[in-house]
């Protein structure tokens, strides 16, 4: 990542320069303010919930003001999850960026990490408000289920509250001590950053307990009494969802930060600002795509665990009524790959010498298009009688061949490899290797890519001729070949480009404005995809609150149409972006106000 940066950046210096050096008192006061804010929110939530519950008649389900209780929970829970993903994802890569800054001794990385962290303050508040609202709605609208779950997971509530307060304190300290803990004190700031992320991860893992228990309950007996708290926590889907969400949060946070940078780029008045936000957008999108690549593998693990827990649930998810939504997901992921590559190719316009590689773009585009078409081809879906008659069976005689996992695994691995190649080309855009073994290195890299492609395609074809149980094993070889190729390629690339001749520095800021729309597209699509996946994860419980154990007896127990679900996801996405725009607007105006006031106070 660092090697793509110019040796002497023209104007990519952080705008937020150290402006204050608060002492222990000021830092603690800022943390205390956060704790008081959260305490008040919880107190208000409790009192309002108590007020509603005491005044409303006893019921298993309620609705407020005629609004569907399911829709209310759906919207608020998804918005809370999105903000949660943002505030947990951003510190991860802010921390990584900070470490890169320490390792490379380049100040601008520190400034970038600081800018990322600046976005968090308002987002934390919104996440907490949405969390309290969700809690209130659960208590008031679904009292019976909430009562059962809160009773079952009593110890985790207390733990969760402690974690929330801990996160507020360490995250505030991480922010307000940024300028004070520099130089030889930097190690303490890095420790704070580590704590923020450990705490954040613990919050995520704790919240996942309740969600995953509803999907794949464990640790309860036949009449739903708790037999083992650990069994209820460590249910089938807990760890796969933890890992899947952890990675997805980083990708999501990266995409949102890149979108923020894109807004700032489009509104920039000076070349220096444009250069800074161009670079920030690039780093955000790089992190988003880098985290996005291993996501399908984490998804496969989650899918396998769902099948392990309940074959019926797994089949409903992949081959039942939800199958059409996977086609939609395939379209989204394909478009994300397109947008990522498009951004990289446009970005090569600001790299002197990168025009040498323009000729590869058409080929890469063709592979992506072909992969996209194969990946979006359905097979095991519910078809109407007319559709089946037209196809001559439940599967299309020719296109059906591309609908099976053999073809899809091949396609997605080729799309990942293509995106990787685009990035590697981008990386060496302005550089010419000068090491004596440069030619051999290049040949070795080409052979690695060719070999990996051959393995992926070979197993893709071979999969058609073996039973499904053997075929599943082949996907590991395909994934392994792609991951190994990427690791080996980079292992050669780093020494290969060491001391490389530079054709010219990267012209940060000199990128077409439409590239910024590619970044918006990434952020919007990531958000929409997250909403869709959230719906599928929740929807596969069908008419169960807790799968197979506690049924949903409300009027909203049915699974809605796909059209309705996509409308809901779109509405949530729009509301999220309106809220996040408010956060961005405040962050843009927020010129270290708190720290300035602390300075004045001192």
């Amino acid at each position: 990542m660092e090697s793509t940066q110019p040796r002497t950046p023209p104007s990519a210096q952080p705008s937020a320069q150290p402006s204050a050096q608060p002492g222990a008192y000021a830092a603690l006061k800022a943390a205390w303010k956060g704790v008081v804010k959260i305490s008040l929110m919880l107190a208000v939530t409790y009192l309002v919930a108590h007020g509603f519950v005491s005044s409303l008649p006893a019921a298993d389900y309620r609705s407020l003001f005629g609004f569907s209780n399911r829709s209310a929970i759906w919207i608020v829970a998804q918005l809370h999850l999105m903000f949660g993903a943002f505030v947990l994802g951003v510190p991860i890569f802010a921390y990584i960026t900070e470490i890169i800054g320490v390792a490379t001794k380049e100040k601008r990385y520190d400034g970038l990490a600081r800018e990322f962290t600046k976005l968090l303050a308002m987002a934390y508040t919104l996440t907490a408000v949405l969390g309290c609202l969700l809690l209130l709605l659960l208590v008031v609208l679904y009292p019976k289920l909430t009562g059962y779950l809160s009773g079952l997971f009593k110890p985790t509530w207390l733990f969760y509250i402690v974690l929330i307060f801990g996160e507020v304190i360490v995250a505030t300290l991480y922010w307000v001590t940024w300028d004070r803990l520099q130089g030889r004190l930097k190690k303490w700031h890095l420790l704070l950053g580590l704590l923020v992320n450990l705490w954040g991860t613990a919050i995520l893992f704790t919240a996942d307990i309740w969600v995953t228990f509803m999907m794949s309950p464990g640790g309860i007996d036949e009449i739903n009494n708790l037999t083992s708290l650990w069994g209820a926590i460590n249910n089938h889907t807990w760890m796969p969802i933890n890992i899947h969400r952890l990675i997805a949060n980083v990708a999501f946070g990266g995409a949102i930060v890149a979108a923020y940078a894109a807004v700032r780029f489009l509104n920039a008045r000076t070349d220096a600002e444009r250069a800074q936000y161009d670079w920030m957008g690039y780093i955000g999108s790089f992190i988003a795509i880098a985290a996005f690549i291993p996501l399908p593998f984490a998804g496969y693990w989650l899918g396998r665990e769902i099948y392990q827990f309940s074959e019926q649930m797994g089949v409903s998810m992949m081959g039942g009524s939800f199958a059409w939504l996977w086609i939609l997901q395939a379209m989204l992921i394909g478009l994300l790959f397109f947008a990522a590559n498009f951004y990289l190719w446009l970005g090569m316009g600001r790299i002197p010498g990168a025009e040498r590689y323009t000729k590869f773009q058409v080929g890469l585009m063709l592979i992506l298009t072909l992969g996209f078409m194969i990946w979006a081809t359905p097979r095991s879906i519910i078809a109407s009688g007319m559709e089946m008659a037209a196809m001559g069976g439940s599967h299309h005689p020719f296109l059906g061949l591309f609908g099976v996992m053999a073809a899809k695994n091949t396609a997605v691995n080729m799309m990942i490899l293509t995106t990787f190649i685009s990035f590697m080309i981008y990386r060496r855009g302005n550089r010419i290797p000068v090491v004596p073994w440069a030619t051999k290195g290049n040949i070795a890299q080409a052979l690695i890519i060719a070999l990996s492609t051959a393995i992926v395609v070979f197993y893709g074809f071979y999969s058609y001729f073996v039973p499904s149980i053997t075929r599943i094993g082949f996907s590991i070889y395909q994934v392994g070949a792609v991951l190994a190729a990427m690791a080996l390629f980079v292992a050669i690339d780093i020494p290969l480009l060491k001391g490389a001749k530079e054709i010219g520095p990267i012209q940060w800021g000199k990128i077409a404005p439409r590239a910024q729309y590619a970044l918006f597209f990434l952020a919007i699509s990531f958000t929409w995809l997250m909403g869709l996946m959230g719906y599928i994860r929740s929807g596969i419980r069908q008419y169960w609150h807790i799968y197979g154990r506690i049924a949903d007896d409300s009027a909203n127990a049915f699974t809605p149409t796909h059209g309705h679900a996509t409308l809901m996801v779109s509405a949530i996405t729009i509301v999220f972006f309106l809220l996040v725009s408010a956060v961005f607007a405040m962050a843009a105006r927020y010129k270290d106000k708190d720290m300035d006031s602390e300075e004045t106070a001192q």
């Binding site: 919880l42 006893a58 019926q312 939609l328 919007i524």
Partner: protein, 300 residues
């Protein structure tokens, strides 16, 4: 700046509209929960077969893997041949016994060529009651061209009621668990223990819940200790205890959500509130110490 935001907003609208549009293009259908069917020993065979068909296609979720007359999948054996295959697969069992075994103990015999993957029909997620299992067997027999031989008994129907889990069934639970054998409730029941109709007037819901979980928690004055043992209440699930408390509260003219919302929340709420308060006070103390240290430093 406003212009940029408007452009971005419309770009977002266009993107989500595209996804929404594709979402409208795929087949649209709602999936409703299975209908609750009442099966009694008097249910006519033809109706039992129809109920079995509904259960097989709906609540049982059998067509996710199997095929019946309407359609389905071929991950599992074709159910149209299941009844007639009994003689070949298990010659010592009747078709009814073979089908019942395959539903309740699917791993005992696996049809060659099919893997072990079916959950027992009386376990989650299908959770078929004994009467429902018989209805499904009856339907599967007709699928194979046979006459249904199953007979629903009064025990099957009673067991089905037990697992039906209706809401606010406090009174029914008191009868089911034998409480009314010793206690009078709303004018009916035994007189060995205290009248439960007024219990909630004297005790808070949390206390009654505690009593149900551990009968020795407190004893009504005038009644001997040890009459009501822990064994008597150990089969009460948390949900059932909540239902009973809600019912007793209602008898005493009080309101209590069977969800237990008031109980755990007021109880937990106070505890969490205390923790939060201590946390805030602790931080205030730390703040005061830091301020003092800083002032000392300034003075020096």
């Amino acid at each position: 700046m406003t212009g940029t935001f408007i452009k971005i907003f419309f770009f977002m609208l266009a993107t989500v509209s595209l996804y929404t549009y594709v979402g409208q293009l795929v087949p649209q259908f709602e999936e409703h929960p299975p209908k609750k069917q009442v099966i009694t020993p008097e249910t006519p065979t033809a109706e039992l077969v129809n109920i079995g068909q509904d259960l097989l296609r709906g609540k049982g979720g059998c067509l996710v893997c199997h095929m019946d007359a309407e359609g389905g999948n071929n991950r599992g054996p074709d159910l149209r041949q299941a009844a007639s295959a009994a003689a070949k697969h298990k010659p010592d069992l009747s078709a009814e016994a073979y089908l019942t075994e395959s539903l309740l103990h699917p791993d005992v015999f696996l049809v060659p060529g099919y893997p072990k993957m079916m959950p027992a029909a009386n376990k989650p997620p299908a959770n078929l009651t004994p009467a429902e299992v018989k209805a499904v067997v009856a339907y599967m027999q007709t699928l194979g061209g046979m006459e249904p031989t199953v007979k629903v008994t009064a025990e099957d129907a009673a067991a089905s009621k037990k697992t039906g889990a209706p809401v606010h069934r406090g009174r029914a639970l008191l009868d089911e668990h034998g409480c009314t054998g010793c206690h009078k409730v709303a004018g009916e029941g035994g007189e060995v223990g205290p009248d439960l109709s007024t219990t909630a007037a004297r005790h808070e819901p949390a206390e009654i819940l505690r009593k149900l979980a551990d009968p020795s928690a407190w004893i009504t004055p005038g009644y001997p200790a040890g009459m009501m043992t822990k064994e008597m209440t150990q089969n009460l699930s948390e949900g059932d205890r909540q239902e009973i408390v809600a019912y007793l509260a209602g008898l005493a003219g009080k309101e209590y959500s069977a969800a237990g919302t008031l109980s755990p929340w007021s109880h937990e709420g106070v505890r969490l509130g205390l923790v939060i308060l201590v946390f805030n006070l602790g931080l205030l103390l730390a703040l005061a110490v830091a301020r003092r240290q800083e002032k000392k430093g300034e003075a020096v």
